[in-house]
């Protein structure tokens, strides 16, 4: 049996190591580093017929640095594409008829004393999220190609961090050992911290990175308490041991279950990000390179909502009903508040971040409606949001690369000089406002239908978000793209071939998943049915096939190793 998931995790990690192992060059560095670099550079260049002395001559150094950076980019792109191919091959072998149960499972003891395993496996939801991550990474690399050319390392460190992050993202979705999940969950912070703090934009990037770190660490520590609690009560870190009627964890008293639930939930709410613990995201996105923002908002934040489905709901079913209304309330605030704050932004990176606060409100709303449509919609929303918001960040990034600013007020009339850029911006924006025919509509609509079946009031309140979405997208588009072309923008380049290749796959996915989302739903639906109707009183609303799927799931989980 091929260990697909381990390969998918290891491949980008190896790529990162290779990028780091590339000969170092020094454009501006401390004497100590220059010495190190001279050694390394000399060693690597000797076989190529160059000379170690080159590092002493400044122009040559720069050339060498550029060359190694170019190699670093190629390696990064190559490894990310290879990872995508591995993940795609794995997805093709995924048995849709058993989408509710874990597949491609690997379980190896890791720290035996604490019962920690290296255990990975995916159900339908984890699979589509891993696929989404693997699709986004090569596009981010492509979009960030020239972003760091003027840096001392030509961006080599940045590209290595991207690969490190990819390994961890796949790991966090694949982990089926709660402790392993926790390790990935926390370890992911490190590459992101450097991607913002060291490679970010603007003077505020250090502060933004610290804020991100403090928030995340705080959440992580709270979660750690719950992780330990789960082990103490459940007697295992293995997810398969912890869920189900017969598990020790299922027998825990409701009060304890609520505390454990809360521990996980706080960490996930911060990550998601949910109002009122969302403020790290706009700062982080505003200080991020667009590629970082794509991975941060498109993938990393999904760990929060994914965690709510996988850990909060499934580990502590007895506690869920107590949390439903508070979470629904916070989701609604997130939807409306995020949308209004988005309307009030002048910085496009921050604007898109706030739209994501609003969109994550829809996702958590769908999850906690506990209906089949709500949860399937939420799971699909995670994927669609990754593509749509990812594309939006990339396109804002193209603007930033041209003008050096992400402020709306610095733009105007771009449509006239760069019609293709404006066109993809508009299509992506329309995806962001959930226009039917584009992917996000399907997920948002399913959330609406599922939530209304749960209770009409939150659905009606959330529907206001539909109008606000039109305002924040189209107003941003109007101010940046329409009207007379602003002075200084007349020579603005239209999309380059590289940029086109970076966003075209996303636009194609958005369109295909908008018109034909059923294949993805076929993978998601069975997995979702596990958690449908967990809370009390809503089971009837979600009854359609949900109960059948749930019972079937239990058996299959028993079968799967």
């Amino acid at each position: 049996m091929i260990p697909w998931l381990t390969i998918a995790i290891a491949l980008p990690a190896v790529g990162a190591a290779l990028v780091w192992a590339l000969p170092r060059t020094a454009a501006k560095a401390s004497p100590a580093r220059a010495a190190r670099t001279a050694e390394a550079g000399g060693a690597a260049e000797a076989p190529a017929g160059g000379g170690g002395v080159a590092t002493a001559v400044r122009p040559a150094t720069t050339a060498a640095g550029g060359g190694s950076a170019e190699t670093a980019k190629r390696i990064t792109l190559g490894f990310s594409i290879a990872t995508l191919l591995v993940v795609a091959a794995m997805a093709l072998r995924f048995d849709t008829s058993r989408a509710a149960s874990l597949q491609f499972e690997e379980v190896h003891p890791w720290i035996q004393r604490f019962g920690v395993h290296y255990a990975v496996g995916v159900d339908g939801i984890a699979l589509v999220l891993i696929l989404m991550s693997a699709v986004l990474v090569p596009l981010v690399v492509l979009a960030a190609w020239n972003e760091h050319d003027d840096r001392f390392d030509g961006g080599r460190g940045y590209f290595a961090l991207i690969l490190v992050l990819e390994a961890m993202m796949i790991g966090v979705f694949a982990a089926t050992d709660v402790f392993l999940f926790y390790v990935f969950f926390e370890a992911m912070l490190i590459p992101v911290y450097f991607m913002i703090g060291r490679y970010g934009r603007g003077d505020g990037r250090s502060a933004a990175a610290v804020k991100f770190l403090l928030y995340s660490l705080a959440g992580g520590l709270v979660m750690l308490v719950s992780v330990i609690g789960v082990y103490v009560i459940g007697g295992s870190f293995l997810w398969t041991d912890l869920v189900g009627e017969g598990s020790a964890l299922a027998a825990v008293d409701p009060a304890t279950a609520r505390w454990l639930f809360l521990g996980f939930f706080i960490a996930f709410a911060i990550k998601a990000p949910m109002w009122p613990v969302h403020t790290w995201l706009p700062s982080a996105a505003g200080a991020s390179r667009p590629g970082t923002a794509v991975l941060l908002v498109g993938v990393l934040d999904k760990v929060g909502t994914y965690g709510m489905m996988r850990y909060c709901l499934e580990l502590f079913p007895a506690a869920v009903s107590w949390f439903v209304w508070p979470v629904v309330g916070l989701s609604l605030v997130s939807i409306i508040y995020g949308a209004i704050l988005a309307i009030g932004q002048n910085d496009m990176m921050r604007l898109v971040a706030y739209t994501s606060v609003s969109h994550f409100g829809f996702i958590t709303l769908g999850i906690f409606a506990l209906t089949a449509q709500g949860q399937a919609g939420a799971a699909l929303y995670m994927v669609n949001h990754g593509f749509a918001t990812g594309a939006l960040f990339l396109i804002v990034g193209f603007l930033v690369a041209r003008r050096g600013s992400s402020l709306i007020s610095d733009y105007g009339g771009v449509q006239r000089v760069a019609p293709k850029l404006a066109g993809v911006f508009l299509v992506t924006g329309l995806a962001g406002l959930a226009l039917p025919g584009l992917a996000p509509f399907v997920s948002e609509f399913l959330v609406f239908v599922g939530v209304y079946a749960f209770h009409p009031a939150p659905a009606v309140v959330a529907a206001v978000g539909v109008v606000l979405a039109a305002l924040y997208i189209l107003w941003m588009y109007q101010r940046t793209m329409n009207g007379p072309t602003k002075e200084g923008l007349t020579g603005l380049r239209d999309l380059s071939a590289r940029e086109t290749w970076a966003v075209a796959p996303l636009l194609a996915l958005i369109l295909v998943l908008g018109l034909y989302p059923q294949p993805v739903l076929d993978v998601i639906n069975p997995a979702v049915e596990r958690t449908v109707g967990i809370g009390s009183g809503t089971a009837d609303a979600a009854a359609d096939g949900g109960s059948e799927g749930a019972s079937g799931t239990q058996e299959e989980e028993g079968d799967a190793e």
């Binding site: 502060a207 009339g413 305002l471």
Partner: protein, 649 residues
């Protein structure tokens, strides 16, 4: 009577499938052809500049031809078997929820398809001439094709979710075309405004669909209508009112009317096709299509008639005061659609009248807009009627076609508008009682307003003295523009009689809508009190316009006016109301929340972050040192955590 008449829709959803007819099972081609046109023109880029507009014109024509085949196929079936469901593929399904890309071919949908593709084709032809000089012509034709495709989805959908796709799709096309000259800030703002106000209506439609699935268990037409008899009054009322909200947005009915006049920023062919003949009538289509729901909710029906009547009068008043020829026509469109909405709110007695007026209006209003475009073409794109005058001699074809459209819309006897407007008047009075009197009188008043503002327009534009700007040399438009106008003028003259005489259209529509029309009695229309009243107000309206705008020379600048005319020319303060009730409170709320976000929610965290930064600065680190400091701190923390874990366990 109303319920049973939906026999084929409600009784047995699987009653007819398209398998037996290649023409019907290929109904998806109706949509796919123009959609392919849009895709080719947009993705093909400049390579398609030379021939793109011809391809884009040919595709709606092909759709029209296919629609004719579909029509003949339907006519070859028994009346009760003319509703055919054409499944294309499953869009998405979760649990018990299913949304299919399924089409419903029936007399109602095919009537719309024929109107959309026929008028649409003519307007494509017209645009070849009208947009000849525009550098963005390819994009224009791509958007037009996109519009036709979306509009066909809207009317052919067999469930409310697919209808919603078409519904927002036409909204997108409308947005793109209003803002076609997006470098003009006014056009960009108008486009956004239209989309935004439409979204408010769309929100209503969206919630209506949620209620349908939750309370009725389905979203397809047949299943929803089948569930209506068992549904509670509250559910039907809620669905009805929310559908009405959707209709108000799309059809520019009060209180969501404010976008339509601004939408005239778009090129004139767009105003003709989207903002007169087809898209804005979608609200009427929705109300008639969802007839069983409204028939189960009398209060919602009353609301429909009230909205229709109010918009009819408001639109007429606005049209009477505007000097901009296109805005005056837009007010007229509001008014005429209000009349249709009113008729649709009457229930089965009004459906045929509403749809028939919709079809004839599609012809004469499109013709009037194309005529206005022809005039603007001649007048260097000027739209101010106070700078027109005496154009009849210079532009004979435009004058003749515009004149026939004018006579049709004011209800000149035996022209198209007369038949369909008379039908609405008699349907309104037919309700009986006070309600019938009020509604019937309102429609007659609306007809009088129509006669006034349309006469005013014709007098100011084509008759009287020349008040042209300097340097304007009007000329007749090329054949590619006048030919469509001639065709539409023929429809303006004859279509009403063709549809109304012998109950041809009413009988055709009956199985689809449950309409039960009464026989149209020509003699009665000339002798009945309300028929005479309608003729009377028409004459009064024309005479009043003559007295003000033809007998005396028209001033080249608008007079100061009194309270009423000022209110009318400011669109009855619709924009001011929106600004006061929504925009300014919204801005205040946004400002307040921005402040709260910054000072309260984020304030604490920022303080904490700043504190950490300060302490690290205290260590005298260089900037690159920050990252390392925190990495080390974090690593240290992780080690502590791991150690604690090891000890505890």
């Amino acid at each position: 009577m109303a319920v049973t008449s939906h026999a084929y829709l409600a009784a047995d959803p699987a009653v007819a499938t398209a398998a037996d007819s290649a023409v019907l099972s290929g109904a998806w081609l109706l949509i796919a052809l123009p959609l392919a046109g849009a895709a080719i023109l947009l993705l093909g880029g400049r390579h398609t500049d030379k021939w793109g507009h011809w391809l884009a014109t040919a595709l709606p024509v092909a759709s029209f031809a296919w629609a004719l085949l579909v029509l003949f196929d339907l006519l070859g079936r028994a009346p009760d078997a003319r509703g055919v469901s054409v499944p294309v593929y499953q869009w998405f399904s979760v649990g018990g929820f299913e949304a299919g890309v399924d089409l419903l071919v029936d007399p109602l949908s095919i009537s719309f398809v024929l109107l959309i593709t026929f008028v649409g084709s003519l307007i494509h032809v017209y645009s070849v001439g009208y947009m000849a000089e525009d550098p963005g012509r390819r994009r224009f034709f791509a958007y037009l094709n996109l519009f036709v495709a979306a509009m066909l989805v809207l009317v052919l959908a067999d469930n409310f979710v697919l209808l919603f796709l078409g519904w927002e799709g036409v909204g997108l096309a409308s947005y793109l075309l209003i803002g076609f000259w997006q470098y003009k800030p006014s056009a960009a703002v108008a486009a956004k405004k239209a989309f935004l106000i439409n979204r408010v209506g769309d929100m209503g439609l969206l919630i209506a669909i949620m209620i349908m699935f939750s309370a009725l268990g389905a979203v397809s037409f047949s299943d929803v209508f089948a569930a209506v008899p068992g549904a509670s009054d509250g559910v039907l009322l809620a669905i009805g009112l929310l559908l009405l909200l959707g209709a108000c947005g799309k059809s520019a009915q009060l209180p969501l009317q404010a976008w339509l006049l601004d939408a005239m920023e778009g090129p004139t062919p767009v105003s003709a096709l989207i903002h007169a003949a087809t898209m804005v009538t979608a609200g009427v289509y929705l109300i008639v299509r969802a007839g069983p729901v409204f028939e189960g909710a009398p209060v919602a029906q009353t609301a429909v008639t009230v909205v229709g009547a109010a918009t009819m009068l408001a639109g007429g008043i606005i049209a009477s005061a505007k000097d901009d020829i296109k805005k005056s026509l837009a007010g007229s469109t509001m008014s005429q659609i209000g009349m249709m909405v009113l008729a649709a709110g009457l229930g089965p007695v009004g459906y045929v009248a509403a749809i028939a007026h919709l079809v004839t209006h599609g012809f004469f209003k499109a013709g009037l807009f194309l005529g206005a475009g022809s005039v603007m073409h001649a007048m260097n794109d000027g739209v101010n009627m106070r700078r027109y005058g005496g154009l009849a001699r210079v532009m004979p074809v435009t004058f003749a076609t515009f004149g026939l459209g004018y006579l049709a819309i004011i209800g000149f006897p035996l022209l198209s508008g007369w038949w369909t407007k008379e039908s609405i008047i008699s349907a309104a009075f037919g309700v009986g009682g006070t309600e019938g009197m009020v509604l019937g009188t309102a429609v007659i008043a609306g007809a009088g307003l129509t006669a006034f503002y349309m006469s005013r327009m014709v007098f100011m534009t084509f008759l009287g003295g020349k008040r042209w700007d300097e340097g304007v040399h009007p000329h007749e438009s090329p054949v590619s523009m006048t030919a469509p106008m001639v065709v539409l003028a023929i429809g303006s003259v004859a279509l009403g009689a063709f549809l109304t005489l012998g109950d041809r259209f009413a009988g055709f529509l009956a199985p689809a809508t449950g309409a039960h029309p009464h026989h149209f009695d020509v003699a009665h229309a000339f002798t009945s009190p309300y028929g005479l009243a309608a003729l009377g107000v028409m004459v009064v309206g024309v005479a009043a316009a003559w007295a003000v705008y033809l007998r005396k020379p028209v001033a080249t600048t608008a007079p100061k006016g009194n309270l009423v005319t000022v209110a009318a020319s400011r669109e009855l303060y619709g924009n001011e109301i929106n600004e006061g009730l929504l925009m300014r409170p919204g801005q205040a709320l946004t400002g307040a929340l921005l402040l709260i976000e910054d000072k309260v929610i984020d304030g604490a965290v920022n303080g904490l972050g700043a504190g950490v930064l300060d302490s690290s600065k205290g260590l005298g680190r260089a900037q690159t040192g920050f990252a390392r400091t925190y990495a080390l701190t974090m690593l240290f923390g992780a080690v502590v955590v791991a150690a604690t874990l090891a000890v505890r366990l």
